[in-house]
Structures are given as structure tokens and as C-alpha cells.
């Protein structure tokens, strides 16, 4: 190989961005096409430094916008290479059209999203409004709660996305600043082990295979469009979870670190639970443990590890015996219940027995979710569980100034 290997410590103190950069370096990507935006900028900044220092063999394309960044990824992926990029917020919004192109063309691109609020008002801090945009875009979506997860899930994302039975692009999301700029201990893999876990990129229907000409990005009207979309949905619904399970198992065997499609904390005998994503999952897990010890609340936490495909069946198993569930959305639904409220409600609607469910909007624009806030949610849940019905409004806002906001 024409590039140098990097010696890493067993535990490096990395922020989420650095963790993503190293994972991208270790899998030896053919083409990274990128346009920097806060807070994901350091991912491609570090990556281009690794390239300049001789640790990467691939191409790095600096383009003029995020739309061009993903377009470059699409071209390179269709040509037959391992491809990735990173973005945030407005950049992701500008990229949106091309996300649908990538998944519709079945191109296994990996996109690191560092979550950030969408303007206006302009804000560079973390919330989930940008990544909520991608829900129906046909991408597989992994969510990280800390820098270690960012590192590990990148390898898993490449492995799953590039599997010839899957051939779909994958997102790895992390919380802007709370993960991307927070340094924590990350257990590393050496370069060879990391690369070998993902394996050599095996092209499929690549445009540079001139002996087997193929067409990408075709037009299909009412005659075939539906069949393409139906097949893509079918593969997301039926083929992706088995491959994710396989990858999680293989990764556990390699590292001892276990990931699950739905993560559970203190759920064995839980009566009430919070469902959320990102760093909040871990904060809530700590609060659940404390409330069990101090207030006797049988509290648990459900973390969404894979947002797409949506783990409908897996979640049914986890929530079916609960008395009350709080869904926490870090995105303004702007005139509706939050996404997690709606999707979790869908999960339980046909169960014989179902928990009382309410919704909290929190943390917009990076507003802190404190342990005190989380404890208040668990106390609401306890009251709902004891009453067997809602004792609170369906939707409440946490940590916003002024009179308490609640709806429905």
C-alpha cells in the first residue's frame, strides 16, 4: 500500500469529529467529496491533513457546496469506489435533493452528520432538526451517543451499506458539540484490524467496469418508478436489519463492544421509560439509575440506535410491558406532536396492552438538557403510570424561558 499506517494508543482522547476522521482514514476511502460546515468541519479538516501527511491514498475533492459534495460522492460511488463525506445543518438541507438520488441509485455512501439546528435564527449548536430531514430519504441511519460510538458505527456503516444484498447509503449521526467537540476516551483499533473488519471495497454495477456497461440515474415514469421505490423500501424493511445484526455481532466478537438496534438501559423490570436519541440517552440512563436508588421509580431508557430502518418490531418487544413512556424530540415539530411520539405511538397502537405516551420537545439550538430536567420527566412518567392515564398534557417543552409551554 502506498500510504503510511498510523500508530494509535489503545485509548485516545478524541472528540466525535476526530473519531469519525480516524475511522474514515482507516477504511481507506477512494473519494471524499466535501464542503465544510460547523460543527462537522473538523471531520474533513482532519481527514485532509491525514491525506496531506501521507496516511491516505484516496482522493479528496473540495467542492463549492454541499449539493456538489454529495453529487461528487454519487459520481464517485457510481464509478465504483468507497465514498464518504460529512456535513451539518444548512449543509445537509442543501444536500437533501442529492440524498434521495444516492439512495435511489443504490450507492453505498457513508455520510457523517454532526447534528446542528436549522436556521433561522442562525445557530451553530446541536439539535436534531437537520437529521430529522433525512427520515424518508432511503438512507440507513445509525445514531451515536458519544465519540466511541461515532468511531465504531462508522465501520459498521461501511460494512452494512456496501454489502451487495444491501447497497444503500448510510448516515452516522452525532450531536453537534456535545459529541463532536467533547473529548472522551476512545478505544481504538489498529489500522489493519479496522480495515479488515470492513474489508476491501467490492464494486457492483460500477461505471468504470467498461466491459459491462451500465446506466445509472435513469428516468422512469409511471411505468417503472413505483417498482424501483417499492423494491428499495422492501430491501430497507427486510434485508437491512439482518445485516446490521451480523455486523454488530462481528464487531462485538472483534472488540467486545456490543451495539443493538434498540439500546436499553435499566429496562429489565422498568415500568416507565424515556425514548430519545444522541447524548441525551446516556444522560437519561444516569438519571434513571439515580432515581431507582433515590426515589424507587422503576425507570429505564430506550435509545434509538438505528433510526432507519425504523425498528418497529424490536421496539414493540421493549415497550410492551411499560406503563408510561416519554418520547423526547430534540427538534421543533412546528405544528405537530414530535417525530418520536408519532413513531412510538405507531409501534404500540396494535398491542393488546399499551403504555401511556407523552412527548417533550427539548434542547433546541443546543439548549442544555440537565439531569434535573430528565428527573422531572421521570416523575411525570411515574404519575402517569400510577394513574394509568395521562396526568400531563400530551406535549410539553423542557427548558424554554417564559411560562411553561404545553399542548394537546
Amino acid at each position: 500500500m502506498a500510504f503510511e499506517k498510523m500508530k494509535l494508543k489503545e485509548i485516545e482522547v478524541w472528540d466525535g469529529n476526530m473519531a469519525a476522521s480516524h475511522a474514515m482514514r482507516q477504511v481507506q476511502i477512494d473519494v471524499v467529496s466535501a464542503y465544510p460546515i460547523t460543527p462537522s468541519t473538523p471531520i474533513v479538516e482532519n481527514y485532509s491533513k491525514f491525506l496531506a501527511d501521507g496516511y491516505i491514498e484516496g482522493e479528496f475533492m473540495m467542492v463549492e457546496s454541499e449539493h456538489a459534495a454529495m453529487s461528487g460522492c454519487i459520481g464517485a460511488s457510481a464509478a465504483g469506489g468507497r465514498v464518504a463525506t460529512a456535513t451539518s445543518a444548512q449543509g445537509l438541507a442543501l444536500m437533501m435533493e442529492t440524498l434521495y438520488q444516492a439512495s435511489g441509485m443504490r450507492l453505498p455512501i457513508v455520510l457523517n452528520i454532526v447534528n446542528r439546528a436549522l436556521a433561522a435564527p442562525l445557530n451553530v449548536n446541536g439539535d436534531h432538526s437537520d437529521m430529522y430531514l433525512t427520515r424518508d430519504s432511503g438512507w440507513i441511519h445509525f445514531d451515536a451517543y458519544n465519540p466511541q460510538h461515532v468511531y465504531d458505527l462508522n465501520f459498521i456503516a461501511f460494512k452494512v451499506a456496501e454489502d451487495h444484498d444491501v447497497r444503500l447509503p448510510a448516515i452516522v449521526s452525532q450531536d453537534g458539540f456535545m459529541t463532536s467537540h467533547t473529548a472522551q476516551g476512545v478505544r481504538t483499533l489498529d489500522d489493519d484490524t479496522a480495515y479488515n473488519f470492513v474489508g476491501e471495497f467490492k464494486p457492483m454495477n460500477d461505471m468504470l467496469d467498461l466491459d459491462h456497461p451500465v446506466t445509472h440515474g435513469v428516468q422512469t415514469e409511471e411505468d417503472w418508478h413505483f417498482e424501483h421505490k417499492a423494491r428499495q423500501h422492501n430491501d430497507l424493511m427486510t434485508k437491512v436489519f439482518p445485516k446490521i445484526e451480523e455486523a454488530f455481532d462481528a464487531f462485538e466478537k472483534l472488540t467486545g463492544r456490543r451495539y443493538n438496534i434498540v439500546e436499553t438501559y435499566h429496562m429489565d423490570d422498568a415500568e416507565v421509560a424515556i425514548v430519545c436519541m444522541g447524548t441525551s440517552v446516556e444522560t437519561a440512563a444516569e438519571v434513571a439509575k439515580e432515581l431507582r436508588e433515590n426515589e424507587g421509580i422503576k425507570a429505564g431508557v430506550i435509545g434509538i440506535r438505528v433510526l432507519r430502518p425504523w425498528p418497529y418490531k424490536q421496539l414493540q418487544e421493549v415497550v410492551k410491558n411499560l406503563k408510561a413512556v416519554a418520547t423526547l424530540d430534540r427538534s421543533s415539530p412546528n405544528g405537530a406532536p414530535g417525530m418520536l411520539f408519532n413513531e412510538i405511538s405507531g409501534v404500540v397502537i396494535n398491542l393488546d396492552k399499551r403504555p401511556v405516551i407523552n412527548n417533550y420537545i427539548y434542547g433546541l439550538g443546543g439548549r442544555d438538557l440537565t439531569k434535573v430536567h430528565v428527573a422531572e420527566v421521570f416523575r411525570d412518567l411515574k404519575a402517569n403510570a400510577d394513574a394509568g392515564k395521562l396526568t400531563t398534557p400530551t406535549q410539553q417543552f423542557i427548558g424554554v424561558r417564559g411560562p411553561k409551554l404545553s399542548y394537546l
Binding site: 482522547v13 451553530v124 473529548a183 446516556e282
Partner: protein, 185 residues
């Protein structure tokens, strides 16, 4: 859980200092977090950085903190921001100033009943490193006040953190750390 809040101006190296400290502590097997409040802070703007240290994995990602230690690496921040916010009864303060601890307390009554230590990290940095970057000397003072690590062990680890810098700068940082360790009161 040990928690530290840094008060600094953007550009004075609080984030680098917090990450460097985290690096050293992590190398001894403890779990760490180092983060900062960003925004669109420009060079010179008041900002805060944070460390968490624990024997077990740190799950708490809230930004709110009641610190065990407060580091102030710019002398004027004692007057322009509330460095005692969210304090505990036993919060310890290490503050960069040219004044004595008594003079400082007299000039800022909020600190009067607090456990305050003073050291002139700015002067030390200027005289050793040649630039007013007070982050590494602050860590030298912290080693003295906390007794966290033997100062020689700490300096040795710090050399590793700074290893990409020219030898002259590394040596100057070692002097700065030692001087702050010796001079903090």
C-alpha cells in the same frame, strides 16, 4: 466525579489545556470528558471550558456543572464574569493575577469567603514561553493544589501531549509548569 470549569478568553488555550489535562488523566486509566461552550466566540471573548474525571464511564452529557475547581486564566474575568456561579461549598479557585490572594479577595468581594489560590500564569508564560498563553502553567498550579499527580510525573506526561511542538517550546512549557507549581499560593 471530579469537575473543573475553566474561565478564559478565546485564544488563551483553555480548550487545549482542558484536552491536554484529559489526555494525561486518561493515560492513568480514568475516564474523562473535556468540552467547552462555543458559539460564535471570537478571539478575546470570554468563554468557559470543562473537565470531568471519574473512575467509571462518564454518561452525563449535561453542560450544567457544579465544579470542584474553577480555573481563571485571564485576570480581568474575575470582574467581568461571575466565576463563582454554580459553586459548591468546597469549590476551590485557582486564579491568574498579579495580586496576592488577600488583595484579590478585597477587590472582588464574591471571592471573600471562598478557597482561593493565586498565581500569575500570564507573567510566567510570558517569561518562559514568550507568549501570554497561561494554560500549561495553570495545570502546574493545579497539580500543587490538588496533589493529583507528582509534578515530575505530570511534566513527563505533558511532554507527550506537547510532543509535536519544537523542543524549545516544550522546554519552556516545562519551566512554566514548574514555576506555577512553585509560585501558587
Amino acid at each position: 466525579m471530579l469537575e473543573i470549569r475553566w474561565h478564559s478568553r478565546a485564544g488563551q488555550g483553555a480548550v487545549t489545556g482542558a484536552k491536554g489535562l484529559a489526555d494525561i488523566i486518561a493515560s492513568t486509566g480514568k475516564h474523562v470528558q473535556a468540552f467547552a461552550f462555543y458559539g460564535s466566540a471570537k478571539r478575546g471573548a470570554a468563554m468557559t471550558a470543562y473537565n470531568r474525571v471519574d473512575d467509571k464511564e462518564i454518561l452525563n452529557h449535561e453542560k450544567f456543572m457544579k465544579p470542584d475547581y474553577v480555573f481563571v486564566i485571564d485576570p480581568a474575568l474575575v470582574y467581568t464574569t461571575d466565576v463563582t456561579i454554580n459553586h459548591k461549598d468546597n469549590t476551590k479557585y485557582i486564579i491568574t493575577t498579579h495580586m496576592s490572594t488577600d488583595e484579590l479577595k478585597a477587590s472582588q468581594p464574591k471571592l471573600a469567603d471562598k478557597e482561593v489560590y493565586t498565581v500569575d500564569c500570564i507573567k510566567i508564560a510570558q517569561e518562559t514561553i514568550g507568549r501570554p498563553i497561561p494554560n500549561t502553567p495553570m495545570l502546574g498550579a493545579f497539580m500543587k493544589i490538588s496533589g493529583m499527580y507528582d509534578i515530575e510525573f505530570f511534566k513527563d506526561k505533558m511532554k507527550g501531549v506537547l510532543s509535536k511542538l519544537p523542543q524549545k517550546i516544550i522546554d519552556a512549557n516545562m519551566q512554566a509548569i514548574q514555576r506555577a507549581y512553585d509560585e501558587v499560593k
